[in-house]
Amino acid sequence: MLLTVSTTHQPATDLGYLLHKHPDRVQEFKQSFGSVTVFYPEATDERCTVALMLNVDPVRLARSRAKNAPDFSLAQYVNDRSYAASSLLGVAMADVFSTARSGRCNANQELADSAIPLEIVIPVLPCRGGAEIAHRLFEPLGWTVEAEPIPLDDDFAEWGDSRYVRLKLTGVVRLADALNQLHVLLPVLDESKHYWQGPDEVDKLLRSGEGWLATHPDANLITRRYLGRRSGLTRTALARLAELGDEVEEAIEPAEEEDILQPEEKRVPLNTQRHDAVYQTLLDLGARSVIDLGCGPGQFLDRLVKTPAFTRVAGSDVSTRSLQYAARRLRVERMSERQSERVDLFQSALTYEDDRFAGFDAAVLMEVVEHVDPPRLEALERVVFGAAKPGAVIVTTPNCEYNELYEGLVGMRHPDHRFEWNRQEFADWSDHVASTYGYVVERRGIGDLDDTLGTPTQMAIFTRKEGSDD
């Protein structure tokens, strides 16, 4: 909630002209989410500093339901918005110094057009990605960056650093540019989740980014983060349940991408190989109707839908959010009547018997079983193999033996994995399931084969025995 800008350009008090705020006055400006006070702690010819203090009262804001507040965190009474230089400070600053940001100065246009020595101090800046990201974002713009991590709590040194840094930028920069950069980069650095986004956000970004954003080496990251907002009602319900269980919300987010603890260059090809292998298996089996159990955001499902050979395609997942993504990916709303009769998307849990699982030639459980607690696997087996009884079931899961080839991987490949099997364990499990429920099983590897450790992914293809169809 505090930001200071100093200059040693002489006479330094010209800063007042550039900002259109008189150095000897204390001015207060109302914002929808609080009030901003602008004053000058020092104003001499040698050095002039303007301080911008944002005062947010979270209680009052939450009470008034903060209808148009641009930040969802305000709904919580306990939040850092009244202390940290959040996106709110960015918004307030942009507004209070709007003329200065436009680079206009009737009193001294020449000065407004010039780069001048500036020092910007933000005592508490939320910095998603750590101090390093502050360097990455500000240095290409000509700043010298000091980003000092702030510890969480001095009494609990073992907790380490907080998500905040004390940021000091020094450089010779045009003031309007400096302000515009802060306007864009404060929300980019801010960790808090934005649930609401005005339709004009893109325009704002383009205007403030004029002259520097396009050439910024991290322009993509900046754009993505600035515009990356989330939404959804179920989400807030889940957030509520997370807190109830004394968990942070991230802990219950659906596992959308597999092997996230793996570097991208290994992960992406393996994903593709896995999809290819399962897809080819389905074609080889001659399956006409397929259900993707645990379809997530629908990557694989999309491929199934695009294949006319599959006359009936269903996807189910326990996460309503993943299903929303899947529906968007498949463009369910825009499907023709004929198409939408072919495709079905629904919420379900694999530990609950569900009539909608029944009647498919093949079911796919791709990277799903390892997200189920071992004591609950029996229920999954019964639901899929015992009750739904598809003609074939394809199961893929990591081979943990292979993990030692992943550099730096400690533990399992994904924080939500409840177990990872070696090849023997997978063989034992799949043999047991096959014999219990009247299936024949065949196992294959997916991904680059290591002579001793096998492949990174293992696959089991279960086909129901003749005569077991009742």
Binding site: M1, V26, V59, Y83, P123, D153, L241, G245, D246, P254
Partner: protein, 840 residues
């Protein structure tokens, strides 16, 4: 075909079933229906035509109108309501489709033919301007009707009642006849006895064991009575295989004749009847023994026995519909119904048509899917031990194969068995556990998903909205413990009504006033531990876990969070330590399992990530920015700028931030694995046979829990307050002030005694400093705003969740099926995702 005479005019129709009126247009069917049936019982084709066409006479709408008519009739029959179809029905196809509809709902169907001369009908139609069709239509209908008479009785109606002429029609009295299987009027208590198969001696022993007094004719037992007026119900298969089928029949026939017993038919009786009647049947499965034994009996007895067995019906619905007895069980939609397939299900079970490796029919495990309210008791499939599956139980424990003869006492749900005196008959296959005996943990998505209304004893009917269920499904299926352990989830708790005391948002005095207002005379103030809510379900040993919870993997309990998630990756050690600490309770409650409501301490043991991400972060931000802000403000002040107000505010905020930081730090204690972790139990939720949360007062709970000792246990400090005593109230308030001043979260105020009616089960009064981590560091500056808070919804939820939780506990204690327990527990979780102000 019954032709009613003009003087007595009783027409008997099935109380649950379909009545098809048959008569030409203008014959007076509608008037007849109006006179004898409730208006909602009558569905007329004219009305349906009006529904779909805005014109009751628009003949072009007839096909659609009949679609609607069939839909309404079908729905009513499914729901078990008597339904009368008012349409001409003079054509055979029209009647056939209605008969088919009735059969598809397994109900009886009668026809009532209203036969008036066509001249009368034509005359009547002329009086009605809307009936503008010509006389030829009526004449054609009349021809159709006449043609129908010949075959009407063969079309599938149970009875066809023909009423001729207006006099007879006017004199009719309709009598509603209950189905034979409907014996809801008798309420027991019952002793329900499993498959006997000619084991007469064991039957006598069992009856004696159950307290029956046998009556003899010489050495032959011919009847039995129970001094407590109990009634016996035999599930069938009295005959075949065993040594003395006539002896069994004689006793059972006597008991049925004297009204001391009811008996349903088994498949063996059905086959024996066919054999005795001379039908060609394969003599197998012990039929030969019966035929030989019956052959040695008098012809007279043989005839009586044949009549008896031939007259047995296939199932009974007893005790207001709460109990159903059928030989091979019965699915819910067949209860109280009458049709060939209902009888066949009741006699033979839900067979798939396949046979197993022993050549015996494979039976579909209907009990697994059973979701009905009525208890279903049956036999038919020999099992080693009678076990409950979804409120159904099979009593055939294979006495004839050397097993046991078993009876179920109803409503006590008590099993009584006597062993076979010997193996009388070699089983074709070894006795196997009931199909899917260990599968009782299978839940169906329909048990929990979608918008649901749950009936609860303590909170009335509770609605669970679909979107809440969706969120709960995600949490439940991804994170919760095995549903068989999850017999309870705690409800949310409302804070006290907002205090008016200066500087306080919450204050005990308000809680005392509230409870006094609800008629409570004495309350207990329990220290509210600031940790994580924990439900502990522990068993004495692995056997108890398997027997009572069906968990056979050797685990002996679990400790889980408010969202059903296990504490720590492996709760075994915690469970083991708690079992030792809780030893006195196992003793005093004479139980081999316990469910405890606790708080797990310290808060940081579970919530450390939350503390760091949410609370410590805010503290770090505040304590780093405010000093710098004060520094620049001082600089500005030194320049002569007027920043007095903002400086004072910032100083105050720094003080608040420091207090906030101290507030959360008070609940952080280093733990290492279980070292440093304690449990503070404050209520014993349930033990074997007892839903203690429901039946015992908090005073009792606290006294029982005081018996626990050991490092693991943190006692719950508390004090009782007589609400009429000013001194006791003031002393309790002082206690609360001291408790919260030294870092305590606050207290929970609960009635000390059991209460009637729907009052809050507890309300929390949180301390002034603690509330900083709820309402934010500066909340004390905004008390005026915060006082204006709405507790209504929170309290409604607290009440409903409490009711649902209790419902689940009671269901578990009463051995209700898992799905029933689970749907209540699931509903608590679903309601917890409801967006109420989370600070309350």
């Amino acid at each position: 075909m019954t032709e009613s005479s003009t003087e007595t005019h009783q027409v008997t129709v099935p109380a649950m079933g379909l009545v098809v009126l048959v008569g030409i247009s203008g014959s007076g069917k509608s008037t007849f229906a109006r006179t004898h049936f409730k208006s909602t019982e009558v569905v007329s084709s004219d009305f349906c035509r009006g529904l779909v066409a805005d014109d009751e006479n628009d003949q072009s709408a007839t096909p659609d109108a009949f679609d609607v008519l069939h839909y309404i009739v079908g729905t009513r029959l499914r729901r078990g309501l008597l339904t009368v179809v008012d349409a001409t029905n003079v054509q055979q196809q029209a009647r056939a489709s209605l008969i088919k509809l009735a059969k598809s709902h397994d109900v009886l169907v009668d026809a009532i033919v209203i036969d008036v001369p066509d001249t009368v009908a034509i005359e009547r139609n002329k009086q009605r301007p809307d009936r503008d069709f010509g006389t030829h239509v009526v004449s054609r209908q009349h021809r159709d009707l006449k043609r129908s008479f010949r075959r009407l009785s063969k079309e599938g109606f149970r009875r066809v009642h023909v009423l001729r002429g207006t006099d007879q029609i006017d004199a009719v009295e309709i009598v509603r006849e209950r189905p034979w299987n409907d014996r809801k009027d008798i309420h027991g208590p019952f002793d329900i006895i499993g498959d006997i198969h000619g084991c007469a001696s064991e039957l006598r022993t069992l009856l004696t064991e159950l307290g029956w007094k046998l009556q003899y004719d010489g050495t032959t037992a011919i009847d039995a009575t129970h001094p407590d007026g109990r009634q016996a119900v035999f599930v069938g298969d009295l005959v075949d295989r065993g040594p003395d089928t006539p002896g069994v029949l004689r006793l059972v026939m006597g008991m049925v004749a004297s009204g001391n017993a009811l008996c349903v038919s088994g498949n063996h009786e059905a086959k024996l009847v066919r054999a005795l009647k001379g039908s060609k049947v394969t003599v197998s499965h012990g039929l030969a023994e019966s035929l030989a034994q019956m052959g040695a009996e008098s012809e007279d007895f043989g005839k009586q026995a044949l009549d008896f067995m031939d007259g047995l019906i296939s199932h009974y619905v007893l005790d207001d519909g709460k109990l159903v007895v059928a030989h091979a069980g019965l699915k819910q939609s067949y209860h109280g119904r009458s049709s060939g397939r209902v009888r066949s299900f009741a006699l033979y079970g839900d067979t798939t048509g396949e046979t197993d490796e022993y050549g015996l029919p494979v039976r579909y495990p209907w009990a697994q899917e059973y979701r009905g309210q009525a208890m279903v008791v049956y036999g038919h499939t020999p099992v080693p031990k009678a076990e409950w599956i979804n409120n159904t139980i099979c009593l055939d424990t294979g006495v004839v194969f050397g097993g046991e003869l078993t009876a179920l006492r109803y409503p006590e749900r008590e099993l009584v068995s006597v062993p076979a005196e010997q193996q009388w008959y070699e089983p074709v296959r070894p006795l196997a556990p009931a199909a899917g005996d260990r599968e009782a943990s299978v839940l169906k998505i329909g048990d929990v998903a979608g918008t649901r209304w749950l009936e609860t004893t303590h909170a009335g009917k509770v609605k669970i909205p679909e979107e809440n269920a969706a969120a709960a499904l995600e949490i439940m299926s991804r994170f919760a413990v095995d549903p068989r352990w999850l017999i309870y989830l705690p409800p949310t708790m409302s804070p006290v009504a907002t205090s008016k005391v200066d500087g306080f948002l919450e204050h005990p005095e308000q809680a005392f006033d509230e409870y006094a207002g609800w008629g409570v005379t004495r309350v207990v103030c329990e220290e509210k531990h600031m940790g994580s809510r924990a439900i502990a379900v522990i068993t004495k040993d692995a056997d108890a876990a398997e027997r009572r919870f069906g968990i056979g993997d050797g685990t002996t309990g679990v400790v889980y969070t408010r969202t059903g998630r296990p504490f720590f990756d492996d709760t075994t050690e915690l469970v083991n330590r708690l079992r030792i600490a809780a030893d006195p309770l196992f003793e005093s409650l004479d139980t081999d399992w316990l469910a405890l409501d606790c708080e797990l301490l310290p808060w940081s043991a579970k919530a450390i990530d939350l503390i760091k991400a949410q609370y410590a972060s805010v503290g770090a931000a505040a304590l780093n920015v405010l000093p710098e802000a004060l520094a620049v403000l001082e600089q500005a002040a030194a320049r002569g700028l007027d920043v007095g107000d903002i400086t004072a505010r910032s100083r105050r905020r720094l003080t608040n931030a420091e207090a906030f930081r101290d507030a959360y730090a008070a609940y952080v204690h280093p733990t290492n694995g279980l070292d440093g972790v304690t449990l503070a139990p404050f209520q014993i939720l349930a033990s074997e046979g007892r839903a203690l949360a429901l039946t015992e007062s908090h005073e009792w709970h606290l006294a029982e829990l005081a018996k626990l000792e050991g490092d693991l246990i943190t006692p719950t400090r508390h004090r009782f307050v007589d609400l009429a005593s000013r001194d006791e109230r003031d002393a309790a308030t002082q206690w609360w002030l001291d408790l919260t001043a030294s870092g305590g979260e606050g207290v929970v105020v609960k009635p000390a005694h059991l209460t009637e009616g729907r009052i809050q089960p507890g309300i929390k009064v949180r301390g002034r400093e603690y509330l900083r981590i709820i309402y934010g560091p500066d909340y004390t500056d905004s008390l005026d705003v915060l006082r204006d808070r709405f507790l209504g919804k929170k309290r409604q939820l607290a009440q409903r969740e409490h009711g649902l939780g209790i419902e689940a506990l009671a269901a578990f204690v009463d051995h209700e099926p898992l799905w029933k327990i689970h749907q209540s527990v699931f509903a608590v979780l679903a309601l917890e995702s409801e967006p109420v102000d989370p600070r309350l």
